[in-house]
Point group: C2
Chain length 275, copies 2
Amino acid sequence: MERKKLVEIIFEKKSFLCVGLDSDIDKIPHFLRSEKDPIFSFNKEIIDATIDYAVAYKPNMAFYESLGSKGWASLEKTMDYLKSKSPDIFTIADAKRGDIGNTAEMYAKAFFDNLGFDSVTINPYMGSDSITPFLSRKGKWAIILGITSNKGAEDFQFLDMNQGSGKKLYAEVIDKAMSLGSDENIMFVAGATQANLLVKIREIVPSAFLLVPGVGAQGGSLQEVCRYGMTKDCGLLVNASRSILYASNKNDFSEKARNAAQELQNEMSQILDNK
Amino acid sequence: MERKKLVEIIFEKKSFLCVGLDSDIDKIPHFLRSEKDPIFSFNKEIIDATIDYAVAYKPNMAFYESLGSKGWASLEKTMDYLKSKSPDIFTIADAKRGDIGNTAEMYAKAFFDNLGFDSVTINPYMGSDSITPFLSRKGKWAIILGITSNKGAEDFQFLDMNQGSGKKLYAEVIDKAMSLGSDENIMFVAGATQANLLVKIREIVPSAFLLVPGVGAQGGSLQEVCRYGMTKDCGLLVNASRSILYASNKNDFSEKARNAAQELQNEMSQILDNK
């Protein structure tokens, strides 16, 4: 999906909500576990319940890989279902991949060409040639880890680089990545638990889209994120996973998921109107 | 597999060869492509041909994921086959994963508990809590990216940290990782295209095992790697992928793969004898 289209959808739906499909076999409602493909059944219900309020879906690969080839098949079915529901949904493979050039190309093939994702999250540690294979397809995106929302983010991402400038590693990563592509094919992960850092990221990339995890279960504030990170094109995809997926683990799980998504979308709609 | 056992096998087989199962559907011999599961058929032949000369096998996940759930099934069959051939083989999931704690645990489940790998390669960018979930199972290993063998390694891994010491990022990563575990459950990836850097790595971790890619097709020298990286316990797993897998793409591919593996093992045997 190209940037122009993504921005259109955001303003049409008045939402920049991304639903994280971190679908955990041990957390989905018990009664679904007797289904033939419990993870797909769960995803289908969640998608049906939330698609009016969301512009993006982001399955995290770990949850599917933990179930082996069957989990990967659930992912394939989920992607087919999403595409059949609407062409106007932005999809993110939360894979955090990164490998040498020819191998990175295999990952690009896996997620873009075969599964049909619009974007893949990329771990930048291995540098340029681990990123560029994800930048060569029109309308496809690399979403590069800048600042992550976990505690361990502090271990390396905030180390000062010896450039006489006190520049941090995450800033080096963002600078380097933007030299390889543009805000038409690169986004950044920017952890929302540190909303004031969005100011610093916006100094480096005033217009790139940011994928913001950590709102909801991880404690980030939507208002703060928007205050510091929003652009005239919105420029944000805000992810919520657990607060939607596991709003209830009973028969009413999809209704409760819908309510949780709608509540976030309401807040987003007001923020977009006030902007 | 515990460290003691790994060292035993290395000295028994007089080999520290790891065969990288980067099995690419577009590169395997043409006549195999009509098989029901061409990748598994290829891997089986490669394993049979090389197992006398290798102590470890390392499938790179990208090649399996590029084929979707079928590729993942080929991987599952390959792991079952390896385990049926010999319990004395060290297995490495070259996955380069890294995610927040609860998600990293899902990856640990996928590779250790379900697929039965002894080790997983880990990308350290997200810090401690992306690493620790891989350290809690006895006999299982995290193999952390230190210095990679690609050109992009220079982009971030060699940036100076502002600690007044000119310490590089890769050294920070190695130090931090070793504070989380020990040389009984942590190894490091150390790219062989820069063999003199092994000296610097050995200053930080005198006894940890190093997984060395880049020998062969990527141009690294085995003699150099051993001069600078070998310890009294060997302390090295040297990977070769393309130079073995694609030594021939004709009917004699497995014979040629055997020859390539045997040649490397011969050289390794002499090095171990001279040590």
